[in-house]
């Protein structure tokens, strides 16, 4: 595969801004960017995206930490749960009807969005 540093840096910049702005990883930008712009397969795109998020989320965390806008107690508890949950998820991945789960989850996101707009 041809290495395209300019495209990769531009992709990282965009994902970093979105990630820092919203407190998310930025995979929503990196994964489609790698697939559509750099010719990655979906699997390699997901794996590579997670690796880049270590750096961008660490950088994004710094201003929030300085500002005192991090609840470290909550972060530690959530992290412990998330690591167990993710490894369970990897195991049951093929046993859950993904389509139904995706639909149910999308509805949940719409409801959350509505609540955040109206709140």
């Amino acid at each position: 595969m041809t290495i395209r540093p300019t495209r990769a840096v531009a992709l990282g910049l965009t994902a970093g801004v979105v990630g820092g702005m919203f407190g998310v990883g930025g995979g929503i930008i990196v994964v489609p960017g790698l697939v559509l712009w750099l010719g990655f397969s979906q699997h390699r795109a997901s794996g590579t995206s997670v690796a880049t998020i270590i750096a961008s989320a660490s950088a994004g965390l710094i201003p929030f930490a300085i500002d005192g806008s991090v609840d470290w107690f909550a972060a530690i508890a959530i992290t412990l749960g998330a690591i167990v949950g993710a490894s369970l998820g990897a195991r049951v991945l093929h046993r859950i009807p993904a389509r139904n789960l995706t639909r149910a989850f999308s509805v949940l996101l719409f409801v959350a969005a509505l609540r955040m707009i109206l709140a």
Binding site: P5, G12, G16, A57, F64, D67, F110
Partner: protein, 118 residues
Amino acid sequence: MIEFASFLVLGLVVGLIASTLGIGGGVVFVPALVVFFEFAQHTAQGTSLAVIVPTAIAGAFAHGRRGRVNWRIAGWIAAGGVIGGLVGSAAALSIDPDMLRRLFAVLLVVVAVRLLSR
């Protein structure tokens, strides 16, 4: 203690859902902390980033072992990501929390539509 347990359960549920659907946890942590735990928008986002860093390390390790990480490209993206992350976070902190919460809702709708269309 009860508080610790409820955060632990939040992480567990989100980790399970996110890994099954192949999405990041941040997009769920932020609204969950705001809606269920009554976090301020900025604190929810900062806390979400604090969770994302160690979980991404664990994720990258798992993907790396299966040979699913292109480390060279990842390095270039990370270089841009560090600058972008600093800029994005600084911008978020300077935005009014109510405005930021509504912008976040727009992001949620985008994620939901993308999930439905795949």
